[in-house]
Symmetry: C2
Subunit: 342 residues, 2 copies
Amino acid sequence: MAATIKSVAELAGVSIKTVSRVVNKEGTVKPDTLKRVEQAIAELKYTPNKAARDLASNVTSVLGYVYDNPNAYYIIDMQKGILDVCRKNNFELLIHPCDASSENIAQELVDMVDSAQLAGLVLSPPLSEMPDVLHHLDNKNISYVRILSGDSEFSSTLPYVLVNDFKAAFQITEHLIAQGHKHIAFIAGEVIHKSTTERLNGYKAALEKASIPFDESLVIEGTYSFETGVKSADVLLSMPSRPTAVFACNDEIAAGTLFGARMKGVDVPNDLAIAGFEDSPFSRQTFPPLTTASQPTNEIAQSATSSLIQYLRAKKTKTNFNNLTQTFTPQLVVRSSTEVTL
Amino acid sequence: MAATIKSVAELAGVSIKTVSRVVNKEGTVKPDTLKRVEQAIAELKYTPNKAARDLASNVTSVLGYVYDNPNAYYIIDMQKGILDVCRKNNFELLIHPCDASSENIAQELVDMVDSAQLAGLVLSPPLSEMPDVLHHLDNKNISYVRILSGDSEFSSTLPYVLVNDFKAAFQITEHLIAQGHKHIAFIAGEVIHKSTTERLNGYKAALEKASIPFDESLVIEGTYSFETGVKSADVLLSMPSRPTAVFACNDEIAAGTLFGARMKGVDVPNDLAIAGFEDSPFSRQTFPPLTTASQPTNEIAQSATSSLIQYLRAKKTKTNFNNLTQTFTPQLVVRSSTEVTL
């Protein structure tokens, strides 16, 4: 009777998966394990068959998710979306949060991919938008997919997914204008995120369309945080001619603005309308619940991960990779924080 | 001049880390990479020196964090704490959320550790509290550290960290009693988490100490979710003799209870005091902010990960592992949701 992969695994004292990894020269095997498997193969005169090779294609590879983002809900949604696709394709996920402003960030990522032997990376903003990081990864022939804020496709051999922040911000601002607001403040997140400028541009475009002059004093710089919202409420509500509405760059800022307004006894939405961005769980849980733009983070992550895995397979089999870029536009969700009640 | 590890790396076209991994037969190297390195070593007549061996001890290994928990802030805090320690010790982190109620969960974890070649696992509740899972891991000689709800140490060859939920729940309930409450409801999370019963027992013990009879109708079963809080508020506030205070098993439930009370026009804290558990960011961001127990999730994760890495080193060097179990007790944080204002 011919030797089976199972008998090799037993003799070598390793799993069947490990044997198939050795046989197919795929994945990673410890040197001494490799030796034991090779000896067992020789001893049993084992010849790999098709079943073993099929099994090999199910060997686990590991993707890395690299991010610099303080927003817990965004990260968890991204992780869930990536993991959903990983699981279906027998990949595991390594996470690597990092400091995008660190001087050695590009080298850190290259080293990490090398030492953890990752198959590829999922990059979310701001890392996906940093030319130096991408350049280093390209030089090392590291595969990655990018999630980017933008509205127009461009040519790229590597996969990417677009999020149309401009259009969603335009719609939120239009909604506030339709509620009768002319004095609308904008509270920005970090400008290292391209989404910040895209959302600002969408806000400006909607004002322009409605012939409302853009007033720079109504734009508050900040970070994507609750604290920025609290502080901005203080600034905005102390203005001699204070705004009647606020478009906050994300829900955390919006929730902070709501909190700050309450502290000052300002009624939301009657004295101040507040809109956020992202549709995170707590946008439904504040009182009143927040108008926002629903960003399908989970789907975005799934789409990006699927593209990356398709790209990796095409690279491995040396076939053509068909880069079908998906564009996601967050959708306006109107709740009580912007609808005047009498 | 003698060949250096650098020249071997250059000739083989790999990183220095990879060479040291081969030299020290540590970590994982792809079969074809191994061959190239071995050829380069032979060609250059390289003899590994102490520096190379020292470097080898810094080779990246990967830990896995396994969890089944819907609480985004808890997960992110756990990940951050684990990653802090991983980074200092040159480990990377693979995450593997899973369904603890799945029939094959134990085998799934064993396979994952094998195929992703993990050095060890960090287990948080409920997985850390499931005998069948632990039994399977033990059978495969897989190293892990457990985070457990409990107040008394026990003998174990593997590391673990304790969280004293009983004591913290006792203190929260005592605080509510000190505010004059006698009719205090308890809203529970999933009973698969031992923390749920520990917190319930702490609540019962504080009532007993104050000679307040335990009333089973004031205990509401639910999940660790905002929705459970909203629904429970509805139930509790419809009771003929309704409670004046609520101890919710976590902050999400407490925030939901607050939301539900507001929907019914019930003033918090004057008509209903509400306390949560965990001190998650939004416990400070609700209006009024929530009284809670501050659970040092980040520190708990750090302590667990440090213990695991110490255990792995002891195992590798065949030295004795000194299991110094740390116990963390969440601390009472009093905020406006339980302090009556006049």
